[in-house]
Amino acid sequence: MQAPAAPLAGIRVFPINALPAAALSEKGIDEMSHSYEAKWRAVSRYYHEATPDLLFSFNDIVIQAEAMGAGILFAPDAMPAVKTTASQVRAPQAAEVERMRVNAQVVGSLVQEFPQRQVAGLVYGPFTVIGQLAGEQNVLRRVREVPRTLDGLLARATQVAQSYARLLLEAGAHVLWISDPLAALLPPECFEEFAGRYLRQVFATAQDGPTMLHICGDVTDLIEPMIASGTNGISFDQCMELLSIEDRVPPEVAVIGNLDPVEIVAMETPESVAAATRELATAMGAHPNFILSTGCALPPNTPLDNVRAFLDSGRRTLERVNRHAAHLAPLAQAVAQGDEDGAMELVRQGMAAGVDPLLMVQAGMVRSIRKASARYEAHQCYLPEILLMVDAFYRGMDLLRPEAPQGAEEVLLGTVQGDLHAIGKDLVRVMLEANGLGVRDLGVNVSADEFAQAVREHRPRIVGFSAFITSARLKLGPMIQQVRAAGGPELKVMVGGAAVNQAIAAEVGADAFAKEAVSAARLARRLLGREAA
């Protein structure tokens, strides 16, 4: 794996924005938002404690809308928010706006204080800003009904964004970052008209300097228009499965993302944050132009220990994957092609070269299975193609198994008592194993007592019930109750099979319904906290 292409070279790991700095300030967020001293003291302290490769100046999303006339609510314990839309829209120069000058000053101070690191100048996209000025629903309706009425607003919002971008770049910002969350709601055919061309104008202020674009939410249908904005890197929200979209991003554009900033980084323990980071960095580290980041801004209450866990684990994992990229990338490719002999040979070569067996499993083989699974769920390939890859995965695993430490059996599977259908359950087991999850399979015709005993003995984190016939389905509710009593409140339950559906899953008290084997593996990972919901 190479480091990201030249424009973004040196940037490997960073969380978006600097909002956790608020916890390090004696002042409230309202004062931080207006005072250079308050902001600088907090942000510099934050970046001395946490060491990302890209620094931000504690940006709030309403700064441009405020400058253009929106009424803003400031509070000590919350980020600034739009209170009232603009009755009259202004287009001031950034240098005339006090809060923009404060941010530029902080950018300049960051550049001086941390000369080894790069600093982002963060501005918000014009489409997002006009949504704040005129009301988001109003703007979205006008996109459909009276599109030309937005031209003037967009032009002025672009002017202000360009002016602000120039101010930040002149203060020393290395990277121009644009966040444009409202653009996620544009239909793909409207993106260029209402966002893309304006983003290009703002990016032009960077004058061939490095740029990054972040649009929150599901941008599956907007990737190509986002690339057309000319950005050097696309930062993806945590809801995006990077493995499924990486092939759509050209090699010269960095794929950036996307650990869940709230559910994982802010709310989990440092150990869990490190594990989730490791998993993401292992899966994506082999990509030649990947930058590890969060899926959106870390919230202000994110514990510093968690930020450090993210950065440390991310750096270590990327370094490990990078060191062995020459073995891992071809191995992933062999599995992707279902080339059993090729996979086995590459595993032998990797073992001879001292590559960590677990790394070969996760970054070499599981990566391909997960990527194919994402394509399958997007209806881009069929199950036999994935099973072909799983065959190659298993051949590689046959060689690695003596060396790779056995993971915990996190998932317990079985077909419900009275039901002998096995193939659905068996395919689920196969896909779970191919996704790197340890599975204990109790077989078919499994009674509630057997499930409960197995839960007590093996302490799985998930129990999966398969029910293909009505009589089995009727047993599910009481079975699940008994299993939960044995496993405790943390135990997760999945159900699947022809006799079950989403509604029945809810009725019987399951946590998830898996329609088929490939999605079962993804749901299991989600229940284990390894994928965003």
Binding site: C381, Y382, P384, D391, D426, N445, I469, S471
Partner: protein, 193 residues
């Protein structure tokens, strides 16, 4: 040397073979293996409706869906097909050897060909009825809609034992690639469907 018959035209689509040449190559091998493992046996019996209702009581009467299918049929065909036990035995071997693609292809091929065999048997009895100027109804099986699998023992009591069909404790039909079906018969233009 016995040549392997061509795959039925719809089987590749059913198996969702896609574009990968290796998947197609494996499917061809499994198809050849299927020829050796599957032992097709079929059975049919025509009964008077009254005798059918008595034999399958109370399940046949309790199934509104079955009664709707049979409607005014004065006679009933009972049909059974099986491909034998070797397929699922081999399926288990593939799974144990961690060859999920082969396991999947063999299982799905078995399901397709069992239904293929039942459709052929269905056509046969329709042709027989047609020769007498009569029609048959659609097929219906124990386990469909409100016809309980509890009707299966009554069914199997009539089936030729040489087919090797049996039921599990939960009334599941074994071998797995087996189908039983009920069709109304003796319908003509004078008989209201």
């Amino acid at each position: 040397m016995t040549s392997v018959p061509e795959m039925p035209a719809k089987l590749p689509g059913y198996l969702k073979l896609g574009e990968h040449p290796e998947v197609w190559a494996r499917a061809a091998k499994i198809w050849a293996e299927f020829q050796k493992l599957a032992t097709l046996k079929t059975w049919r019996m025509l009964m008077a409706r009254k005798a059918f209702e008595e034999h399958f009581a109370p399940h046949s009467r309790e199934s509104r869906a079955l009664q709707a299918v049979l409607a005014a049929s004065p006679q009933v065909w009972l049909l059974a097909v099986t491909l034998g036990p070797a397929l699922e035995e081999r399926f288990q071997v593939y799974l144990a050897r961690r060859r999920p693609l082969e396991a999947y292809l063999l299982d799905r091929t078995g399901s397709f060909m069992a239904e293929h065999a039942m459709q052929a048997l269905d056509r046969e009895v329709r042709a027989l009825s047609a020769r007498q100027g009569q029609r048959t109804s659609n097929r219906f099986s124990p386990g469909y809609q409100d016809l309980s699998v509890a009707a299966q023992p009554a069914f199997l009591a009539l089936v030729d034992p040489s087919l090797g069909l049996y039921l599990t404790e939960g009334k599941l039909l074994k071998p797995e690639k087996s189908i039983t079906a009920i069709k109304g018969a003796g319908l003509n233009d004078a008989t209201k469907d």
